[in-house]
Symmetry: C2
Subunit: 425 residues, 2 copies
Amino acid sequence: MVFTNEKDYLGYLESLAGLPEGFRAAAAETSFFPKERPVEKPLPLRLALVLLDKPSAAFGALFTRNRFPGAPVLIGRERLKEGAVRGVLINNKISNVCAPRGVEDAEEVLGALAEPLGLRANAFFPASTGIIGWSLPVKEMKGALPGLCAGLHRGSCLDAARAIMTTDAYPKVHSVPVGEGRILGFAKGAGMIEPNLATMLVFLLTDIDIGQEALRQSLSRAAERTFNCMSVDSDQSTSDTVIALSSGTKPSVAPEVFEAALEEVCAKLAHSIVRNGEGVSHVMRLSVSGAKSFAEARDLAKAVVNSPLVKTAVYGNDPNVGRIVSAIGDWAGNSGIEMNGKNLLVRLGEETIFENGAFALEAAKEKLLSAYLQDAAMDPQNKKFPPHEKCVDIFVQMKDGDASAVVYGADLSREYVTENADYRS
Amino acid sequence: MVFTNEKDYLGYLESLAGLPEGFRAAAAETSFFPKERPVEKPLPLRLALVLLDKPSAAFGALFTRNRFPGAPVLIGRERLKEGAVRGVLINNKISNVCAPRGVEDAEEVLGALAEPLGLRANAFFPASTGIIGWSLPVKEMKGALPGLCAGLHRGSCLDAARAIMTTDAYPKVHSVPVGEGRILGFAKGAGMIEPNLATMLVFLLTDIDIGQEALRQSLSRAAERTFNCMSVDSDQSTSDTVIALSSGTKPSVAPEVFEAALEEVCAKLAHSIVRNGEGVSHVMRLSVSGAKSFAEARDLAKAVVNSPLVKTAVYGNDPNVGRIVSAIGDWAGNSGIEMNGKNLLVRLGEETIFENGAFALEAAKEKLLSAYLQDAAMDPQNKKFPPHEKCVDIFVQMKDGDASAVVYGADLSREYVTENADYRS
């Protein structure tokens, strides 16, 4: 889908964002003075709530592998052991990671949310994104809860998807119909997006009836092929979280049908997250085939999309293709993997750039490749909506096996640096 | 050493750059039209030559682990089996990596250099840096050789150190006296500098008498603690090379004395390479202690200095210290290494930012840290000489063992992106 203005794009998202049966959602804003930093004006913090009509045992979650996870991740891992949950409370601005009393603070806020509903804190997953190390403004968050709950509605999740944004330029929403119901997903994530779920928060809501174990297995496999196959800047955050909830109000479908639909939603969200990454002007799609294993194919692809020299060349529309081959060789050397250049073929778009152990370059081809890169560029300073869905396609073909992987990555722009050099100001 | 202008800095380098006894050096320039890219004007290419007065068996070399090494690396590995060599021919602009006939081209140029001296090509190491994938302009290089040889002199290596620069802003030269002689080193390297020797060319010349095996062992150990403990942008190039040559005209010294002097020269060159990295405005020094092994300490330190989010925060003088701890946790999680936050202490400069499993942040401390980062900044657009030798010191203390490592890294600036987005233009 291509949009020429933000309004049309938001209208399109609204059409995708309708809540499945059995769910309500809401968003609200508050503000606070952090104790960790002098500020002149209070900082805004937004809250989003997803509430199931009834407690559900059909829920699952995946979390970052970072060894210093945020309090919401620590709590979320415990919640997986609960018999049933009612929903998720999400905040932006502060990720509540390794702050003193971080777990207690999060539980206190959830307790205040649960009490009027006759529930306890353990009925809710917490999810937080934003600055690491700071403490949650508990008092201000609790003060905003009555207004948040008063705003619960059965419309779309677009307000919630907007509320959880940090440096995201636009909300990420996708949905697909399945059986008599649907799967809706919304997400945030901008920088810091790598494999293994980086500061990425993803919420998947469905009304399709499904067992807990089936949901968790499908979620795990779908994430492996989507969220774990993308990278904006190779950093894996302390807070990455994917949560799936089912209200179970619609008839079940065949497991493979459900999983295919779930993977489709996850894949679209993953693509949106990369395309909307901080300062991204090109989305790269690395397709590796002929590898010994999926893991090897994926790791090779990630090494290329994470190479700063590849990323900056693509940003500059400069077909400096030597850097692609160098990144492959660097990865293989550091991984102790033997690799014969004679068995390697590399294409950029339609053009073969390396085969039979040598580069295949000439002036005419360079012009074509420059034009190809330019055509796939977006203006990284002005993207309240994606101007197109073009990718810079890089194909790497080996002859070592029959495994393959597709990884989405991003270029590295001046705007990325600017945004991250002054994220908190 | 601090310099307020380029002239004083070059004067200082000149004072360090005197060739040891038994060596001559020269530099020359030529130009060419590449066949791989349309250009309006011929591109400049510089040559540098280091020539021993007599063939020497006391030589050694280390090369990149990249699986697609340049032709000079392939040839250099063979040269290590020669009984003796006479010198090194270096060029910039084209790295001669995976170009069709790359090895033949390099050997042809070396043969043309060797013939008038009554030698064969195998008397010389080749070394090339620059664009990957392009072919050497053999005819133009051969045409420049008579002038190059005519310029051989016994003065300083500063002209050679300048000739081999690519995006380097200033030449890198260091030397230390040892026994009755000295060890002189000169290097190039700007972006793409990581562990395992990235597009870094280093030449170490000494007149101290030393055996081949002793020289090679000392070189390997010194490089492990210096060139392999630095990172500008995590890319390891196809061409990284360190070559050491001894003329043996001065009496030998104790092995440990020689190795200490060699490591000192390597350490100073490594620091210079990072400080002069593409678009670098802060040099980071990561000191890890209490680790189980040197490799673990070094890998943790590299994970922090290579994190784009840490690098951009330091560039922005933003003490967003959560990103440091997140990078440590990310590395540990991905490496399968258990880590207890209670046993971790992290300091930025003099300030403790994390201990006992939680951040230790407050507004007053943040102001101090901002000022600390600002004080260590250099203007990345104007650095024909290093304005100071200050580092951003990050200390990571664990309680898992008694191994430690010190790694030098660089921030990530808008200037880095600009330079690498358009390196070839």
